[in-house]
């Protein structure tokens, strides 16, 4: 967007320009009317319920629920392992996803489409279907255990499901497309000339990648990482089905408080903590996660 000072403005079309500009945009009244249904929907379906939930955690104006949360090492442990799992899932998605994104951006159109399909098909398949597949793959007499035993690697079935390892593997699988797509959309906009120029100047393929392609892909890497991390923090379905009591995360703890123990004020406090952590992250990285780079490229 060039500022008006940079563009030499002839004097005469000025009036025409401003009338064109006014026709170009809807009037304020029309704009507000167009946005009104969204505002109403967000108010009743999003802002009000979340505000009520946060309010419930401070029930009676006391910090009682938060005191309980801080006093019990179990709950702080759950918060810590939630962050840990999110970090591990993000790093695993980055290491596994980057080569795929690179390939998608570099290959000829036809083959790139096949790779893209491998990324998009899981992305638009229900999380439930994918979590179910992991339950089946990892269960006691499941495929993974059978294969490992047949290959002579293990003697008998190992306990794979309902462990933190299972949660990490399944969540990496579910969230990896959110890493691949922002990296891909950054890499795709890099002109191949940069890489070629580096090679012409004597850099090897590896050197050209390290000093040219990788630094230029960092915006996508950051966007994908923040997206992955934030989504991993609040993930419910996959850890609820694949994880067990020993691998409790914030989301599954909230689920347990609401569906089993029916302790709503405490669940509200846990939700408020999870929400706050998420929002702090989103706020810190809001530039990285801006519409064009982060959420947008998921389509």
């Amino acid at each position: 967007m060039s500022g008006p000072s940079e563009v030499p403005q002839p004097a005469f079309p000025r009036q025409r320009r401003s009338s064109a500009a006014s026709a170009r945009f809807y009037s304020r009244g029309v704009s507000v009317c167009l946005a009104a249904p969204l505002v109403v929907a967000l108010a009743i379906g999003f802002v009000y319920p979340v505000t009520r939930l946060v309010g419930l955690s401070f029930e009676g104006g006391s910090l009682e629920q938060y005191r309980r949360l801080v006093a019990e090492p179990l709950y702080l442990g759950v918060l810590a392992s939630t962050v840990k799992v999110a970090v591990v899932v993000t790093i695993a998605s980055l290491l596994l996803g980057f080569p795929v994104a690179y390939l998608m951006a570099r290959l000829r159109h036809g083959i790139a489409m096949v790779v893209a399909a491998c990324v998009f098909i899981p992305l638009w398949t229900s999380v439930l279907v994918r979590s179910y597949a992991w339950v089946v793959l990892l269960q006691r007499n499941g495929i993974v255990n059978t294969l490992l035993a047949d290959a002579g690697i293990t003697d008998g079935p190992m306990k794979l499901i309902y462990t933190q390892g299972a949660v990490i593997v399944a969540m990496t699988h579910v969230l990896m497309p959110f890493m691949i797509l922002p990296i891909y959309s950054t890499l795709r906009t890099l002109p191949p000339d940069y890489n070629r120029a580096a090679r012409n100047l004597g850099a090897g393929a590896f050197r050209a990648f390290i000093s040219i392609t990788l630094p230029l892909s960092l915006p996508g890497v950051f966007a994908g990482s923040v997206l992955c991390f934030v989504l991993a923090l609040g993930f419910y379905i996959t850890p609820a089905l694949v994880g067990g009591p020993g691998s409790m995360l914030m989301a599954t703890l909230i689920g347990q408080q609401t569906t089993v123990l029916l302790d709503w004020p405490f669940a509200a406090a846990l939700s408020t903590v999870l929400l706050t952590v998420t929002l702090i992250f989103v706020f810190l990285f809001r530039k990285t996660l801006s519409l064009s780079k982060g959420l947008h490229s998921v389509h």
């Binding site: 304020r28 946005a35 491998c118 999380v127 689920g255 959420l295």
Partner: protein, 287 residues
């Protein structure tokens, strides 16, 4: 001297340069490419396998889940389509998803117009807030909505689901429609206005056909966002009304039968068909 000369001619001829370096590095390159291909192949296998494995599992003859499946039968599909609980959940979800698609597409398109082409106070704040439901953990939203809906008897209720899923699906519409509007040249609309069309005519006859692929893509995403949504649906379902996601969650947790594989296959096929339709529509538009 002579080496210098070859060197400089190489520099001057990029084709030659490329050929020479390719000849020298061919082995190292082949090695690196092979390793990279194997790694990427494994990752793609990892991505795709758990999505597609439900298909052979759903065709198994046995009552328990085994792989590779022995025999071939459609009995789990028969079981799915003849079970009143599964059918009730499916129809309930389908009705919600269709209503959500309509509501989210209309609300999202209107708001995108206001944001891209309008003079809207607090435009960027509204945009950030509208994307909020994508970022806020769905478990938080689910618990919050249950809390508000429960006393109003909106749990397990069509309208409760419609409100919740519309809020969740609208961001997808706004992302695709905003992008389509930003690619659209407003001069075309000005031309229509100049030729005597009013605002509404200009929108219906000029703007809408041009942003239609974006609106259609947003509608498909909205449908899937509702139909495949599980976390919020888990909390706002009850005995009276249960979405297919809630029903699946319960069965995976308590009653793991190949019927779930059959239901999963149906969901995968629906997603694939819708995504394929979008892809074809976009390819046609481009071609």
């Amino acid at each position: 001297m002579s080496t210098d000369l070859t060197h400089s001619t190489n520099r001057l001829s990029p084709v030659r340069d490329l050929y020479d370096s390719a000849a020298v590095q061919v082995f190292a390159k082949a090695f690196g490419v092979t390793i990279l291909a194997v790694v990427i192949g494994c990752v793609l296998f990892f991505l795709l396998l758990p999505t597609l494995i439900v298909i052979p599992m759903s065709l198994s003859e046995k009552d328990y889940i085994e792989f590779p499946p022995s025999g071939f039968s459609l009995k789990w599909y028969r079981a799915y389509f003849s079970d009143p609980d599964w059918m009730a959940a499916t129809w309930f979800s389908l009705k919600i998803a269709l209503a959500t698609t309509a509501a989210a597409t209309i609300i999202g398109t209107m708001a995108s117009l206001a944001i891209v082409r309008g003079r809207l106070p607090f435009s960027s704040a509204l945009q950030a807030l509208a994307l909020g439901p994508m970022i806020v953990p769905h478990i938080v939203l689910g618990v919050a909505l249950y809390l508000v809906f429960s006393p109003l008897q909106l749990t397990g209720n069509f309208f409760g689901f419609l409100i919740a899923h519309t809020v969740l699906a609208t961001p997808y519409v706004m992302i695709t429609v905003t992008a389509a509007l930003q690619r659209f040249d407003p001069a075309l609309e000005l031309a229509a206005l100049n030729c005597g069309a009013n605002r509404l005519q200009a929108f219906v006859l000029v703007v809408l056909p041009n942003i239609a692929p974006g609106v259609a893509a947003g509608a498909v995403f909205a449908f899937l966002a509702s139909f495949d949504e599980a976390t919020v649906a888990f909390f706002i379902s009850d005995i009276g009304g249960k979405s297919i996601g809630r029903k699946m969650f319960e069965d995976i947790d308590f009653n793991l039968t190949p019927v779930i594989a059959a239901v999963s296959t149906v969901l995968v096929v629906i997603s694939l068909l819708l995504m394929g339709a979008i892809h074809l529509a976009n390819a046609q538009k481009r071609g």
